[in-house]
Structures are given as structure tokens and as C-alpha cells.
């Protein structure tokens, strides 16, 4: 086992260290860590760390701590938290861990052996911050890397009061084979699918600059994590008069191609082949009726109908399109797996009615184009600061 951060030693040994919700030593540590992430050199190399630094600014931290307090109960740390973040998203472990640390928990984060790039930069910044932090930080906050050693996962699982499992269905099932203490529970982040919706009337009414800004935001949402993040939009719904759908799809794809080229998003040959295999596969079974390959980066897929909605990943830059008259038509096809719904051109009332009609049976986040990947303390339908704390009620 490799210790990546924090004091080496027995991870599950009883500890006398006590942290409070919103502990000043944690806030101090996170604030200084955030400053390192916001340094121009770091943010240039890994723009996603800039967003992370922004999320951890002192004002944001104080707001999060305030949100943990309640008028009807005393708030305390949940206890020991074991985090199993995904291998491929370099920064999600930091969000998960930082909120839990802010809640005063003792944390062990398992960093994947496959992690690289931004994750290494994060660990460097964490360790540099640790040098002049209160020693309690290193004793209570630990990050480790180990292989497929069930004994370690088992020991950490029986140590934990809360186990946070990212990485999709397979990861959740694998980790869940290890029992928790009766009082403990899991916070799971299974496979998710995310969508985008364009109001065709809203698109028609928008000027060039507005359309461009929308497409730019959409491009970031889609291409940042090879369209494979749980919140990356995949199928695009064209909502409105079906007579407008083809024209809007063409305009959108043309602008998308131009923005992708300008921004320099590229797709390597292996990914291009992957997309062909998946797009041809959809066509073969009749789920797709039209395929357009405008270079390798942008693949347009016209779906036969709403029933053909694909929920599996099709490769980076693969965009199925399907036309519906009204957002209400989407309500029956959304399900619990659906997470983020990015939108453009709708009114606030339309979106609110849509969310109300969904009734929590699917879709956890409804956000404008460009915000799909912006992490927030409310995620996947969970209020994370609440999950990371426990409540004591007091009647006198």
C-alpha cells in the first residue's frame, strides 16, 4: 500500500483526534490548498483544478458549513468515512473528500492505481499544503493507493461509518461485497446518463452570439471527459414543432463542428472507430436512421424515435438526436438512471413544470448548457453536507 497523503500507519486504529463540523484547522488547510490550485501555472495546465480551487474558496467553505447547521438539532461529524472515487475522473475525489473533511470526519480516500495527471498535481498541492498545517490534518485525513487487495477494502469497510462509492454500477457491486458495520451505510454513485435539450423555438429566436455561447458551453460539457462523465450530455432532444427539427439539428451540428475545431477538441482514431462501431450498431438494429460523420470529432446520429434512446456510452463526440413536441413527452422515458438534463432556449416555467412532472422519478439536475460538469454540494440527488454529518436532538 502506498500512502499518497497523510500520516503513514494503521488506517483503522482508534483515534483520539477530534474535529468539529467546520473545524477551523480544516478550513485553514482547505483555503491554503485552494490557493495553490488557483495559481496561474496550475490552472493553465489543468483548468479543471481551477474550478476545484474556486469551489474551495473560504467564502464557499463558510457557506457550506453554515448549510450544515440546523435550528432543530446539533450537527456533528458522521465519523469515519471511506471514499472510493472513480479511476478516470481526476478531481472528483477531492470534492467528495473536502466536503467530508469540512464536516469534521476522519477520511480515508482510496486513490486508483490508474489515476494520473491532474490527480498527481492535486496530491502534490495537498502535500505541499500539509507541510505547515496542524498535524491533526495528516493524522485524520489519509489517501492511499493499493491494488485489488480485498483485505484492505474489507478492513476499511468495517472501520467506516459511511462508505462513499463512486465509479458506477460495477464498482458499487464490487465494493458492496464487503460488509459494513450495522450502524454504517453507503453513499453510492452508480452509472448515470445525462441529456441535453434544445427548445427549437428558443433556438430560432436566439441571435448568433447567444447560439454560439450555448454551443460553446455544450461543447465543454460534452468533450471535457470524452462524453463519459456521468453528467456529460449524450442524446440531444429537439423540443418543439417537428417541422423545425431537421433545420435546428443541422444548424446546431454545423456550429458545433466549427466550435469544436476552433477549440481544438480532437478525437483519436481508436475513438473514431469506437464511435463508428456504436453508430453502425444503432443503425443495424433500426434505432438510428441517419448517421453523419463530419470529421472524427462530431458524429451525428438521427434516432428512429424516442423509444430508441441509447443509455450506453457511444464514444467521445457522438450525438444522437430525437425530436419531441414538448418536454412533457420526455417525462415517461426518463428514469432513475438519468442524472443531468442540460437545457437551452426554454422558459423558467417550462423547466419547472418539467421537473414537477418528473416528480423525482428521474433527473437530479436541470442546468443550462455549459454547467453540466459544475460540481455542487447537492449531487445525484444527495445533499452531501447532510450525508457527511449526523444529528443530535436535544430537548430540555
Amino acid at each position: 500500500m502506498r500512502f499518497r497523503f497523510g500520516a503513514e500507519g494503521d488506517l483503522t486504529a482508534p483515534s483520539a483526534d477530534r474535529l468539529a463540523v467546520g473545524d477551523a484547522r480544516i478550513i485553514d488547510f482547505l483555503s491554503r490548498f485552494a490557493r495553490k490550485l488557483l495559481a496561474p501555472a496550475v490552472a493553465r495546465r489543468h483548468p479543471e483544478l481551477g474550478s476545484l480551487g474556486f469551489f474551495l474558496r473560504p467564502a464557499e467553505l463558510r457557506r457550506a458549513v453554515a448549510a450544515m447547521q440546523r435550528p432543530d438539532a446539533l450537527t456533528f461529524p458522521r465519523g469515519n468515512v471511506f471514499h472510493v472515487p472513480p479511476a478516470n475522473v481526476d478531481t472528483i475525489f477531492v470534492y467528495s473528500w473536502a466536503l467530508s473533511a469540512l464536516a469534521g470526519n476522519h477520511n480515508v480516500v482510496r486513490i486508483s492505481e490508474r489515476s494520473a495527471n491532474a490527480a498527481d498535481t492535486v496530491l502534490e498541492a495537498l502535500n505541499a499544503t500539509l507541510a505547515d498545517a496542524d498535524p491533526i490534518i495528516g493524522r485524520t485525513q489519509r489517501m492511499v493507493t493499493y491494488g485489488r487487495e480485498d483485505a484492505i477494502t474489507g478492513a476499511l469497510s468495517s472501520w467506516a461509518d459511511l462508505r462513499v462509492i463512486w465509479g458506477g454500477d460495477a464498482a458499487v457491486d464490487t465494493i458492496r461485497r464487503h460488509p459494513l458495520r450495522p450502524s454504517a451505510r453507503d453513499l453510492t454513485f452508480p452509472d448515470r446518463t445525462s441529456w441535453a435539450a434544445l427548445c427549437t423555438a428558443g433556438w430560432a429566436a436566439a441571435d448568433d452570439a447567444t447560439r454560439r455561447a450555448a454551443v460553446l458551453g455544450f461543447t465543454n460539457d460534452a468533450y471535457w471527459f470524452d462524453q463519459a462523465a456521468c453528467s456529460s450530455p449524450r442524446t440531444v432532444f429537439l423540443v418543439g414543432d417537428p417541422a423545425d427539427a431537421d433545420r435546428v439539428q443541422d444548424e446546431f451540428l454545423t456550429l458545433l463542428g466549427a466550435v469544436v475545431a476552433e477549440r481544438g477538441w480532437t478525437v483519436d482514431p481508436a475513438m473514431a472507430v469506437e464511435k463508428r462501431v456504436n453508430a453502425y450498431g444503432l443503425a443495424a438494429v433500426g434505432a438510428a436512421t441517419g448517421l453523419t460523420f463530419a470529421g472524427n470529432a462530431v458524429t451525428g446520429i438521427a434516432l428512429a424515435d424516442i423509444e430508441a434512446l441509447p443509455r450506453r456510452w457511444l464514444g467521445a463526440g457522438a450525438f444522437p438526436f430525437v425530436a419531441v413536441r414538448d418536454l412533457a413527452d420526455l417525462v415517461p422515458v426518463m428514469n432513475r438512471q438519468d442524472q443531468t438534463f442540460s437545457h437551452f432556449g426554454f422558459t423558467a416555467t417550462q423547466l419547472r413544470d418539467f421537473a414537477t412532472a418528473l416528480g423525482g422519478r428521474g433527473v437530479d439536475r436541470i442546468v443550462p448548457f455549459g454547467s453540466a460538469l459544475t460540481f455542487s454540494a447537492v449531487w445525484d440527488g444527495y445533499d452531501l453536507p447532510r450525508e457527511f454529518t449526523r444529528l443530535t436532538t436535544l430537548q430540555v
Binding site: 463512486w166 473514431a272 463508428r276 470529421g295 464514444g315
Partner: protein, 354 residues
């Protein structure tokens, strides 16, 4: 008799006609294929081989693609991959017979018409292992029909059986004989043994396949492979080949002077630019597309492989037509993403199935 006879211009004319007919045939007989072509806007008239619509070879792992009725299926071939996905290739009686006949004609181009005594550089126990049987076993069995008096060069543990090899050479070594095996097995278990024991393989013709990846560690490239076999074992007739179960019966065979693979008269290759998908001229490496007129029972007549290759020249080598080599595989597509399981399926697999 040889199947390496047509100069490129004549071959192109013949193939465009036959393959265009196959496109129409499969379009009529294989609805999923027709839907793919319709969705991607493919026409029905093609001026060049490079204009023909291709399918990614991996599609045969995900879909059942056949142009014959269920009651006409005579044989289902499978290829193994490390991801557990397998290609399924459906043959009717006619296609099965044709592929055997054309494979025979191809190897007879270098072996002559008579069956030769055959040394198989593999182990008999290979045929018992159901799992590896589909790929390596099928390859060995397919090629075994072109020889006689077979001897296995490896024992049941996969170690060289020196007595068996010596016995084979004592009986047949003074006249032409055939050696067949996977490239790395030939190198590790026949070449090294022949050198150590001073075996004379000079009357042999070696046909081998399976890729060079395992030999790269030992710094053995195709030229070195040929040179060492010649110098240390007297083996001068050496033919590598490239082929895949998805185009069963078609193999691209190395010419007598080595260094290049050649296309039989009923097949060809197109090297494509992986960004524009346009055909690349000789000398420019790209993604390899293989075409063949043999697949009549399934739409495998124009396939984009996940192998990288380069055409070295046209009508300028041992035999007419294009000469090319294979330069390894496209890496796997892998995405960053929240789920740990987003991966493409471009898994390495055995290079050749006969």
C-alpha cells in the same frame, strides 16, 4: 498454379464489379447491413474499391450479421478476444467449401499442388482445450488439411519434442516438406531447437502467422527472423501471412523474397487515413481495410480492421498487385469518465485464422 496473377489495374476492375455485386447481394439479404448502408447514405454505384462502404470488423462481435437463412447455416466460426467478446461468422455450405478451396489455392501458390509431409509447430493438446480451440486450434486444423503425415513439434506441455522433430526429419527431411505454426512458437520452439541441435530444415517451406508482438522483446523483426532461420537452420522458403476469421479463407501471403505481404486475385487492401478516411498512397501508414470476394454468406467483403499497415508498392514485387505490411494495432479507445468501465473493445487477438 497461382492466385497471385493480376496486375493492379486488372484486379481493380474485376474487384469493383464483383464487390459492387456483393454490396447489392448483402443489402438485399442482410437487413441490418442494409440499414447501416441506408443510415450512412451509401449509394449503389462505386467507381473504385476504395469507394465501397466498409464495416468496422468489430461489428461482428456485437451483431449477428448474416446473409443466409437460419436453416442454411452450415458452420459458425468464432474468434476469441481478450475482452471475452467473440466474432461470429456464419457460413453456408457453399461459402464453407469456397473458403477451403481458395485458401488451398493460395497456399499451393507457394507449396505446389501436392500435399507435403507436415510439421505442426504446436501441441496436440491444443485441440483438447475448448477455450483456445476456437482461435489457434482452428488455425492449425485449417492448415493441416494442406499437408500429410503430420507430426506435432511440441509435447503436451508445449515444450519442444526433439525426438518427434528428429523423427520427422529422418523420414521426410530429404524431400520438400511443410512447416506450419504461429510466429512466436516457431521462433521459441523450432528455431532455437534447430540451432541447438543442428537440425537441417533446408527442404522445408515455413508458413507462419500470428504477429510480432511477442518477438519484439527479443529484438526479432521479420528480417531478422528470416535471416536467422536461413543462417542457422538452412530454411529459405519462409512465408508469413495475415488474415482474420472475419474474412475466412482469405490470407495475404508474404512473397518469396520477404518483407511484403501480397493480395490474392480475389482480395485487396486499402490503407486509410484515420482522420479523413481517404485512401493513402504507398509509403503512408494508416488503418488497414481488407476486401475479398469470398464472403457471400455474411457481409464481410469490405472490412476496416484495427490494424495499422502500409502499402510499399504496386506491381513492383515478387508478385503483381499491392504489397504491404502490418505495423501493429490501433490502441484501445479509453475514456475518462465517472464509471470505471467505459472502454472500447479494441482488444488484441490472434492475427491469423485459416
Amino acid at each position: 498454379m497461382s492466385v497471385f496473377t493480376l496486375p493492379q489495374a486488372a484486379k481493380e476492375t474485376a474487384l469493383v464489379k464483383e464487390l459492387s455485386e456483393l454490396v447489392a447481394h448483402h443489402r438485399a439479404a442482410c437487413p441490418p447491413y442494409a440499414r447501416i448502408l441506408d443510415a450512412s447514405g451509401a449509394g449503389d454505384r462505386f467507381d473504385t474499391v476504395a469507394d465501397l462502404p466498409w464495416l468496422p470488423v468489430r461489428l461482428f462481435k456485437n451483431l449477428e450479421l448474416k446473409s443466409i437463412g437460419d436453416d442454411e447455416v452450415f458452420k459458425v466460426l468464432t474468434s476469441s478476444g481478450t475482452t471475452g467478446e467473440v466474432s461470429r461468422i456464419y457460413l453456408d455450405k457453399a461459402a464453407a467449401a469456397t473458403q477451403t478451396r481458395m485458401l488451398g489455392a493460395t497456399v499451393q501458390s507457394v507449396l505446389g499442388p501436392k500435399r507435403l509431409p507436415m510439421l505442426l509447430v504446436d501441441t496436440k493438446s491444443l485441440l483438447k482445450d475448448r477455450r483456445s480451440f476456437s482461435a489457434r486450434g482452428a488455425g492449425v486444423l485449417g492448415m493441416a488439411t494442406f499437408g500429410r503425415d503430420h507430426v506435432w513439434a511440441l509435447d503436451s506441455d508445449g515444450k519442444p519434442d526433439v525426438d518427434a522433430i528428429r523423427g520427422f526429419l529422418a523420414a521426410h527431411g530429404d524431400q520438400p516438406f511443410l512447416i506450419f505454426g504461429f510466429t512466436y512458437l516457431v521462433w521459441l520452439h523450432l528455431y532455437e531447437v534447430a540451432r541447438e541441435h543442428g537440425l537441417d530444415l533446408s527442404n522445408g517451406t515455413l508458413i507462419h502467422s500470428g504477429g510480432w508482438k511477442k518477438l519484439v522483446d527479443q529484438a526479432v523483426d521479420p528480417d531478422e527472423f528470416r535471416r536467422r532461420l536461413r543462417v542457422d537452420a538452412g530454411l529459405t522458403r519462409v512465408h508469413n501471412f495475415y488474415g482474420m476469421v472475419e474474412q475466412i479463407g482469405t490470407i495475404f501471403l508474404e512473397g518469396p523474397s520477404g518483407g511484403s505481404l501480397y493480395c490474392p486475385d480475389f482480395a485487396d487492401v486499402v490503407v486509410r487515413d484515420p482522420d479523413t478516411w481517404a485512401e493513402l498512397p504507398p509509403g503512408k501508414p494508416g488503418l488497414l481495410e481488407v476486401v475479398s470476394t469470398l464472403p457471400t454468406s455474411y457481409p464481410g467483403h469490405v472490412l476496416l480492421t484495427e490494424d495499422l499497415g502500409v502499402v510499399h508498392g504496386v506491381d513492383d514485387g515478387d508478385w503483381p498487385g499491392k504489397r504491404f505490411s502490418v505495423r501493429g494495432r490501433l490502441p484501445r479507445a479509453e475514456a475518462r469518465g465517472c464509471s470505471d468501465t467505459y472502454q472500447g473493445g479494441a482488444a488484441p487477438r490472434a492475427g491469423a485464422i485459416a
